[in-house]
Amino acid sequence: MKDVSALMDGELDPKLARSTIARVEDQDELRAAWATFHVIRDTLQGNAIGPSRFIERFHDRLEQEPVPVAPRWRIPRPGPGALALGGAGVVLMSALIVWMSGAHRDTRRPVDAPVPVPAAVANRLNGAIAVEYAMGHRQLNPAFVVDDFARSSEVRPPASAQEAAK
């Protein structure tokens, strides 16, 4: 994936560029990434502002690509696995703690949780969900736009592609 982006930025030497182009031609996921990077670059380079056909073009490109590639979105779960989250996980957890501590201060008429669960666990999970979906609702308020989904994501083909590869 890095090589595809570097190829577009002209940062690969000719030999690596040739091998990357061959891989792009050969691998569905890299072809999809190639298309996506082009869409982004088209948008970034567009100086004229006006009704654009970004979504249409995007869908057109996707239709040509059999396998879209997207980062895996993981929700932190309780248990030993949480210990493996590492530094990025600590940052995420800190964000969630800030979120939830804010929630406690800010909820002046608290609503009882419909399902009694240990508070720490419930708060963490609900906090994770809150962060994800709050961004989906308040799309243009930076206070709700957080990159924890990026920190907790990994690039991998969707399940359907993995099964097809077997």
Binding site: S5, A6, M8, A33, F37, I40, R41, T43, L44, Q45, A48, I49, G50, P51, S52, I55, H59, A70, P71, W73, I75, R77, P78, V98, W99, S101, G102, A103, R105, D106, R108, R109, P110, V111, A113, P114, V117, A122, L125, N126, G127, I129, A130, Y133, A134, G136, H137, R138, L140, N141, P142, A143, F144, V145, V146, D147, A150, R151, S153, A159
Partner: protein
């Protein structure tokens, strides 16, 4: 995306509000008329003038500042919102296309605007229709970011929504400050410019991402948005909504790493809004359901059959919970 316009009866109710105010006395009637007039001005300004400035959001004990530049050109508009606190984030919108640039984690998220307006573009075109659900009147004049402003008060007519106050620029009408207030009179959220230039001749390039090249090694996340698939999973419908809330859009979002789409339905009374997300991945809840709130935004997650349903909105906790608990699986469309 389907857009439903607010019915004309809401406009009529705005007139009724004015008539009631007339009955209450000439002073009050003048304040209401002024309020409606300023509201219309505020809505028009936010959709037409160029501006660049810095605003501060505060709510739930946090404060966060951002620099915003919005440019109108060629029949369209674009804006760039750059966070000034914490992790470096940049939001670039052209029309309804949104790119999120997370500069520290080298990630771009591509999305489409589905949930309506954001500060300072907060007043709908048919602002008078809000009078059915908010008591609207002009308040005092004041100063925000060094500019003279007119206060517009929108008091909620019931407990199902927050009251709001808008400080509109005297010269242009552009909202420079917004305050969201609960029924106890407590401020739950505020966003205000600390400095702003309005009506400048800005180049469209000023609303482009600050970083123009060098995206080698960046991760791209596509939050693909489309109309919901017909004949797919049944929709979840709220049996109870605060009065005046209508569905304004419904889209299907493709979350990363998830084959089945998430359906997002957006409802609004013209000022406040809520989204209902139906996520086929019930495991995200991991068996836990509940409520959290940040500023004016509440989030209520619950399971419904084999789905996770997350209700998110700028509503008081009790109102949001009422909506979430009234959800049922519809017949689909």
């Amino acid at each position: 995306m389907t857009i439903r316009h607010f019915p004309r009866r809401l406009l009529l109710s705005g007139l009724c509000g004015l008539l009631l105010a007339v009955a209450a006395g000439p002073g009050r009637a003048a304040a209401v008329a002024d309020g409606l007039s300023w509201l219309a001005r505020a809505g028009t300004a936010a959709r037409n003038v160029n501006y660049t400035g810095t605003y501060v959001y505060s709510g739930a004990g946090i404060a966060e500042s951002a620099r915003v530049t919005r440019v109108h050109a060629g029949g369209g508009d674009a804006e760039r919102i750059e966070s000034l606190d914490g992790a470096r984030r940049e939001i670039v919108r052209r029309g309804d296309e949104i790119h999120y640039f997370f500069l520290d984690s080298k990630t771009v998220r591509v999305d489409r605007r589905v949930s309506g307006r954001s500060f300072p573009d907060i007043v709908p075109a048919n602002g008078a229709a809000l009078a059915a659900h908010y008591s609207i009147e002009a308040g005092q004049t004041d100063r925000v970011a060094g500019r003279g402003v007119q206060v517009i008060r929108l008091r909620a007519r019931d407990d199902d929504r927050f009251s709001q106050e808008i400080w509109a620029d005297l010269q242009t009408g552009l909202p420079l400050k917004l305050r969201v207030i609960d029924s106890q009179g407590e401020i739950v959220e505020q966003i205000a410019f600390t400095e702003v230039s309005i009506g400048e001749r800005l180049s469209p390039k000023q609303a482009l991402p600050s970083r123009r090249a060098g995206y080698a090694g960046w991760t791209v996340h596509n939050a693909i948005v489309s109309d919901p698939a017909v004949g797919g999973q049944p929709l979840v419908e709220p049996k109870s909504l605060p009065s005046g809330f209508r569905r304004v859009s419904q889209v299907s979002r493709q979350w990363p790493g998830q084959d089945r789409p998430v359906i997002q339905s957006v409802y609004s009374d013209g000022l406040a809004s809520l989204s209902i997300f139906v996520d086929p991945d019930l495991s995200k809840l991991a068996g836990h359901e509940g409520y959290s709130q940040r500023g004016a935004l509440g989030v209520y997650s619950r399971s419904l059959a084999d789905r996770a349903v997350i209700t998110v909105g700028q509503l008081p906790a009790a109102a949001l919970r009422k909506v979430a608990e009234s959800l049922s699986i519809g017949a689909g469309r």
